[in-house]
């Protein structure tokens, strides 16, 4: 791999940019691999990357039915924060956030991590209490976060309307080290680094069956033929139920649509991320100037990557009350992704009922922020054959044990 650098730009400028190579190979699948990962989203690619980098396992393939990063990784609103309530969550999300800080250097690929700060607005008395509780929990967990009053909110976000009418801004949980990153770049950066280590990323290759022998996984059937493997990782977000069915087990997961939209580009207006969980809307401004907006998820099972329009309406209605200045903006694009929701709104990482088959899923509406931490943990779990320190709490056996990691109460909503 030719490294990207200021020198490389100068070199290529001098020869009219004719020397840039492909960022990753486009290999034909081998007959067999030590490890196959299904799903080339951020989580699958990060898993493969840390298998190679941290564990020296490079006879690995990532199999993707569409194009890499074309699932939720390429459809999300890129909010990154780690101030969750429960210790287990704070640990893995903070691991991920801290890996994001040096990810561009690590991958030699600019993922445009922008720690611009994330505000979660408190617009009811309950939210104030909830976020103060989270602030205290975060202090014990070593996650830097702070509850701030409405004046400071207004100082950070001049375009915000704090006096209501219906839901005045009473304060906010503020994580200055949270922010955003470029979603595609995260997938592309991991893909390029994987490919460079000799890991095969096989796109346009849909997995249609999972083969097993004596209760253990032996390989997969795909639209590009059979591939055998010793270990298999299912990292397919909204399609987890489909793959689990192929592997012969059920998951505590429902797949539903979550939507986002972007406005026409405008001059810089807001330089932090604002989430308003009571009214279901969140907003940030991209480097191109578009306002990136997201809202609530649909309530019914759906695989079509299209959501219901009334959710868009609700989100926009909430946001123009909070940011009256945007009421005349035109919206440019709107889309949906299929998110995998667990009963306690926490992810699943670990073993499955099928021997040597591992799963990393259930990130639902908030897994972009977790990509580096999840890949790190899933790679360790697959390499050792048992959950690592981060994954230990997130096994799917927690549902039979009643040991939930309840973030549905803590976060109220998405992300």
């Amino acid at each position: 791999m030719r490294r990207y650098s200021a020198f490389a730009i100068a070199r290529e400028a001098a020869r009219y940019h004719t020397g840039w190579g492909r960022a990753w190979r486009n290999p034909t699948p081998k007959k067999s691999y030590d490890i196959v990962i299904i799903g080339a989203g951020g989580h699958g690619l990060a898993t493969a990357y840390y298998l190679g980098k941290n564990h020296g396992l490079k006879n690995v393939a990532v199999v993707e039915k569409g194009w890499l990063g074309g699932g939720n990784t390429g459809r999300n609103t890129t909010i990154i924060r780690s101030n969750y309530l429960q210790d287990e969550s704070a640990a893995i999300y903070e691991k991920a956030r801290s890996l994001y800080e040096s990810l561009s250097q690590d991958l030699n690929y600019n993922v445009m991590f922008s720690p611009r700060g994330v505000l979660m607005l408190a617009q009811t008395e309950h939210e104030i209490r909830g976020y103060k509780r989270t602030e205290h929990a975060n202090r014990l967990q070593g996650v830097e976060t702070r509850f701030i009053g409405p004046k400071e909110v207004k100082r950070l976000v001049p375009i915000i309307e704090i006096s209501g009418p219906r839901y005045p801004v009473l304060g906010a949980l503020w994580q200055p080290r949270g922010g955003t990153a470029r979603h595609d770049a995260v997938a592309w950066g991991y893909a390029r680094a994987c490919s460079d280590m000799g890991i095969d990323i096989i796109q346009q290759c849909e997995v249609t069956a999972i083969r097993q022998k004596n209760g253990a996984v032996s390989g997969i059937e795909t639209t590009k033929g059979e591939i055998s493997c010793n270990k298999l990782g299912l990292v397919v977000a909204g399609n987890s139920g489909v793959l689990a069915e192929m592997a012969g087990f059920r998951l505590p997961i429902e797949s539903v649509a979550l939507q986002a939209l972007v406005s026409e580009p405008i001059k810089p207006a807001i330089n932090v991320v604002v989430m308003a969980n009571t009214v279901h809307g969140y907003i940030s401004q991209s480097d191109k100037g578009e306002l990136v907006i997201g809202g609530g998820a649909d309530g019914f099972n759906n695989y079509t990557q299209r959501g219901s329009f009334h959710h868009i309406e609700e989100t926009v209605r909430a946001l123009i009350e909070t940011f009256p200045i945007i009421s005349r903006l035109k919206m440019l694009r709107q889309w949906g992704g299929i998110v995998d929701m667990t009963g306690d709104r926490s992810p699943i990482i670990g073993r499955t009922p099928l021997e040597n088959c591992f799963i990393d899923c259930g990130w639902g509406t908030g897994g972009f922020k977790a990509i580096p931490g999840s890949g790190w943990s899933m790679a360790a779990t697959m390499a050792r054959g048992e959950p690592d320190e981060f994954a230990a709490a997130f096994g799917m056996e927690r549902f039979i044990e009643g040991r939930f990691i309840d973030e549905s109460v803590a976060a109220g909503v998405a992300h």
Binding site: G241, R250, L251, P252, E254, S255, G299, F300, N301, I400
Partner: protein, 112 residues
């Protein structure tokens, strides 16, 4: 927007007047069941990509629960029916079979 026919009121209802209630025909575990049964009842879901049977409530209408047969990969609705039943009525099953010849039948082909 999804639109479903309320079998009680006999009218077509927009999604905004309805509340989704998840997978239908779950077997409810009573006392004496083991942990795995409770886990299956409370959490484990079929979540299929294709034909699905689910519970809906006509919240801003009669307020009653009913069942719907739907395709989760196209959002096509095959039919709705009363919740007072253990399996989808024959006419709904036939409509599904007509539209999806490879559908294995209610509760059939479930490996899990």
């Amino acid at each position: 927007m999804l639109s479903l026919h309320c079998p009680y009121c006999g009218v077509d209802v927009d999604e905004t007047d309805l509340t989704p209630g998840g997978e239908a025909h779950l077997v409810r575990s009573g006392s004496g069941s083991d942990d795995a049964d409770f886990e299956a009842y409370l959490f484990m879901r079929k979540n299929p990509r294709g034909v699905h049977f689910e519970r809906w409530r006509h919240s801003f209408g009669c307020g009653k629960w009913f069942h719907a047969a739907r395709a989760t990969d196209t959002l096509e609705v095959f039919g709705t029916y009363s919740a007072q039943t253990k399996e989808p009525p024959q006419d709904v099953q036939e409509r599904i079979r007509a539209r999806r010849p490879d559908w294995k039948g209610f509760g059939k082909g479930d490996r899990i």
